[in-house]
Subunit: 225 residues, 2 copies
DNA sequence: ACCTGAACACCGTTCAAGT
DNA sequence: ACCTGAACACCGTTCAAGT
């Protein structure tokens, strides 16, 4: 009988560079590809190729592409920084937490889209959820309202991240098309759009902070029906 | 020289069922496929097949898949109902307008995702934008703040629609996985999640109205920095 | 100018066959 | 139990050749 140790040594000698397949290795490789190539790199075939195997081999560890998305997302959510209690009042800590979530989603191209199209349930998402709930509770929001509020806050943050990521990856001609459409409306047809002009298309970068204040103020002043 | 009329008659006789290719015909066909098959039906190859031609033929009228998305989205936005002035105060009309937008996005599976990943600039989007701006102006929101607010309102509405569409198209096992994750946390680890339980995963359907009030209240009480 | 067939470079997923 | 090659049923896009 061959012990596990000797088996490992033999396999190391014959194929020194190839680590054994595992869900963890698959997720790590997928994350590397996502960081380098964006959403386009996050394919089962590319992950398999990077691990020097065929795509069929991955199905032992991962049910389908959607499960890979869920796993990659939760892995990355481990990078979200939960603010310490000394970091200010609950509102500032809440905003810091959501800004960290925002930054993590924007750090990899395409990740925000993944966050919008999957329903994560991993341990890191649970930790983030719990932290948000307890910050809102500290702010005097009752728990049932907080449950609805964190959905709103997480969804809005992911959506803004996805929008900015789109803008980043789209060529300039797309943005020029929008700007042209806005400028070509007449004052009679659409007076408000005409009056705003560039204000409607430019400077989308620094609105997230304002958006967070809008949401927090709104949550504080709007009880559940 | 052959007049357009005689040319049309000849072409009718030889190929009675096949309408001539045009951007309009392509968008209509794409919309039919989207309604029937969802996002999976919205492919250039399927549109071409439905029009009885090869995929290469479409590139005369449409630059790429993204442009088709933009065109389909703006076509559908024509169905959004702009509320008449008699329909109540500005707040109720604003909510009615966004609910109409919400309903249009949800009427076709996958359309909300399209709305989140494209930057529309067609005439129907302009009309919707103008209507939102003028309703907010009526509510006393200054125009510069309104410009930021409508981004927030449109993005949130599309994101909630996309989330509900996801939920609808995903199999129940996905939702069961989330519910299981929530129920399996201990009271010591995550007391707030534990206390909420099902409240966190169920009844996501009727929150959009509350979300709209949160956003409107937030916008009213949060000036631009 | 418009249309087409064929090709290129990809996808996710399944399945029978191997170890 | 795990891995694999090969196949199936798709994609978007390009290009040379036709009309």
């Amino acid at each position: 009988m061959i012990s596990p140790e000797s088996r490992r040594i033999v396999s190391r000698r014959t194929r020194p560079a190839k680590s054994p397949l595992s869900q963890e290795a698959i997720v790590s490789t997928a994350l590397e590809l996502l960081s380098r190539e964006g959403m386009a790199g996050l394919s089962l075939r590319k992950v398999a190729a990077a691990l020097d195997t065929g795509p069929a081999s991955l199905y032992v560890y991962v049910a389908d592409l959607n499960e890979l998305h869920v796993l990659v997302l939760d892995r990355v959510l481990g990078e979200v920084e939960l603010p310490p209690e000394q970091a200010g009042d609950w509102r500032n800590r809440l905003k810091a937490l959501l800004r960290s979530y925002f930054g993590v989603l924007l750090a990899r191209p395409g990740l925000a889209q993944v966050a919008l199209s999957t329903i994560p349930s991993g341990p890191n998402m649970m930790a983030l959820t719990e932290a948000l709930l307890s910050l809102l509770a500290e702010g005097g929001v009752d728990l049932r309202r907080a449950a609805w509020a964190i959905d709103l806050l997480l969804l809005q943050t992911a959506a803004v991240a996805a929008e900015q990521d789109n803008r980043r990856s789209q060529d300039e001609s797309e943005l020029a098309r929008v700007a042209e459409a806005v400028h070509s409306v007449s004052a009679e047809q659409h007076p408000n759009i005409h009056a705003l002009g560039d204000e409607l298309v430019s400077g989308k970068g620094d609105r997230h902070d304002w958006a967070l204040d809008v949401l927090i103020n709104g949550v504080l002043s709007t009880p559940r029906p």
